[in-house]
């Protein structure tokens, strides 16, 4: 019989000795070059962290390769970051340059620190989930190839956090990203009346709809959807598998901007809609890649140092954001969910463009 409830391994057993010795007694850090963090402890000891990009979806052999590198340079100590990068943890300064050389030779991008674009937090997509409106790993790879340079340098006004979620469930902190890439459906789910009675619980299906578009049809033990009230969130499908929502022609991607999580300077905030819809165009999603690149470049050339995307937009105004990026403003940008009115301009304080 297997042991249960043992919990994860104790992290203390995973800490490199330099960390164990200086735990909680760090004094300051420096970023001498992209991808290299140097933390100095009160004791004067230093920890070198080398950050490398990862596709997140990895093979065991890939992990073994990473282990081998860590064993060679880091006495076998490494960690992953909250954005799924790999961090090699070194106490020996002399090993930093050789490590960087090996990583380069093996094609690991080193960077993601400071005023850079870090790894794109993303989700399962067509690789494993049942509700995606787009793939996750594919668009991420296509985009990162194009904005690679921003990962290995630190030349942006501030860091830019990009995230992708393949459906409105928004696994990951997509909703608070500098730039969020979000898969959306646009087809009203059609209940399959032959299956609903067997596989779905009517009341919970009705309750699952945020806009009250679903009504129970108790007589036929099924449900009906009011097309006009449905905004294709897919939540009913989560609860009731007999309401498929995916549709190759109308599924696609929306782009959101200006969210943040940190409390630095300004409060954490949600990303706001920039582009309501772009088509799914595998394998390289050119429309999506271009749209995101455009936003990054306009930001890079207009924002002031230390301004996050959202802080920049707040300063210059959303009118200006749409003018500068050339993104058309539509009625879809105007909120119509429950707290919509809070987003309406109730003053004459706007800009002409």
């Amino acid at each position: 019989m297997a042991k249960t409830d043992i919990g994860p391994p104790d992290y203390k057993t995973m800490l490199p000795p330099v960390i164990a010795r200086n735990y909680g007694k760090w004094r300051y850090h420096e970023i001498p070059q992209p991808g290299l963090l140097v933390h100095t402890a009160e004791s004067g000891e230093k920890l070198y962290s080398v950050r490398a990009g990862s596709p997140r979806l990895v093979s065991t052999d890939h992990i073994r390769e990473i282990c081998a590198i860590a064993e060679k340079y880091c006495d076998g100590y490494l960690r992953f970051t909250s954005r799924h990068n790999i961090e090699f943890l070194l106490s020996d300064k002399d090993k930093v340059t050789p490590l960087l050389a090996e990583l380069e030779s093996k094609g690991y991008p080193v960077g993601g620190t400071g005023h850079a674009i870090s790894n794109i937090v993303h989700t399962q997509g067509w690789v494993h989930c049942h509700t995606p409106a787009t793939d996750a790993s594919g668009p991420v790879k296509a985009l990162m190839d194009e904005i690679y340079d921003y990962f290995v340098t630190m030349k942006l006004p501030n860091h830019v956090r990009i995230a992708l979620a393949c459906c409105l469930n928004m696994c990951g902190a997509v909703h608070c990203s500098d730039i969020a890439i979000l898969g959306i459906h646009r087809t009203v789910p059609k209940p399959d009346n032959t299956r609903v009675p067997n596989v779905c619980e009517i009341p919970s299906t009705v309750a699952s709809c945020p806009t009250g578009a679903i009504r129970g049809d108790m007589k036929n033990k099924t449900i009906t959807v009011n097309d006009e009230k449905c905004m294709y969130c897919g939540n009913c499908y989560t609860v009731c598998p007999a309401m498929p929502i995916a549709d190759p022609d109308n599924d696609g991607i929306s782009i959101w901007v200006g969210g943040k999580v940190s409390n630095a300077r300004s409060a954490p905030s949600f990303s706001k809609l920039a582009i309501p819809f772009l088509p799914n165009n595998p394998p390289r999603w050119p429309e999506v890649v271009d749209a995101v690149k455009n936003i990054i470049e306009v930001y890079a050339s207009h924002a002031r140092k230390h301004e996050r995307v959202g802080e920049w937009i707040e300063r210059v105004g959303w009118e200006r954001f749409f003018t500068l990026t050339g993104i058309p403003f539509t009625d879809k940008h105007i909120d119509d969910f429950d707290m919509a009115t809070e987003t309406f301009h109730s003053s004459t304080l706007f800009k002409w463009e």
């Binding site: 992290y11 995973m14 300077r265």
Partner: protein
Amino acid sequence: MAESKTPLLDQLEGGKWPSFVKDIKQAAEKKPMAEDLLQQLELSYKDRIGHWKHGGIVGVKGYGSGVIGRYSDRPDLFPNVQAFHTMRVNHPTGWFYKTDALRHLCDVWDKHGSGLMNMHGSTGDAILLGTTTDHIQPCFDDLTEAGFDLGGSGSALRTPSACVGPGRCEWACIDSLDICYNVTMSFQDKIHRPMFPYKFKIKVSACPNDCVASIARADFSVIGTWKGDIRIDQGEVEAYAASGLDIQKEVCDLCPTKCMELDGKKIKIYNKDCTRCMHCINLMPKALRQGEEKGATILVGGKAPILQGALLSWVIVPFMKLEPPYEELKDLVLRIQDWWDEYGKSRERLGELIKRLGMRVFLRAVGLPAVPQMVKAPRTNPYVFFWPEDIKKEVK
């Protein structure tokens, strides 16, 4: 030369960013499961649609969570992914690994699964991506043997996570790693056996930079903070200036409360007005250090959009000292979960319940006092409820 069976995915092998397609192909060399995954994914790329069925419930003995069931909708074409379940493995807090542990994990997974994994999932688990129903229990047995356990899924406490904090960072106001580990160990039962109205997430960041995004995606967010004056080393201030930092423009002018002045070459801070945003400290870690009294702000309610719209967590305790064994903290978690358990509807997150019943009702139920720090501003609508005793008191 034979034509590639995956012409679309092949186009994602090039480019400078590491390619997941390469990894799938690498696994496919050993694992038919990975090969069928590759082929099914190619079909998805062609059809522009996913090919997985709505998940079914699978699991290990004694647990209600930790495994996500998944079945192909084209088992005719891809029999090796007819069942392709994921195992969520609780990561070592802070995502620290010694390579032997990691190699162990790989070995277990090569034995039981597809040889593919996510390092890590968005909640923080190591996601073992794809195994058959048969292999779930043996895989779990081998995992625990190797010192690993499953993480949360379903209507359970999800795998808590924490920023690297005291492990490396000079700004850690609390021991994010220890708190997270302690909570994880104390609440094992809640992680493995779903008993709540819906999922519940706990994340711990050791300072307001919130490197684990707890405010955006945890029902219960713990964020380190401090009281007392920011400590200034004026010598280091000068050194930063000498090194090219424009302190007036980059630091003082961007201080959100404008509570910072450059007086010649010296920095002066009106600490009473400081909201501890970290900006100045972020820019000058050598020169500025947080105040000496350390603790955490507790916030609740963060979540993604489903059902009632996304929420960021809300302040419910401005300052709590956090020392092991963190009883005050865990007690608060329990009081909150009890209340939510009692009043929450199925699939209603904590934040949504508070939204529905009112912060006033929540605070009273869990025994927390109302303080101005909880709000950006007091209410504007006059729809004020009075407690029965308020009314009686006023009657003369």
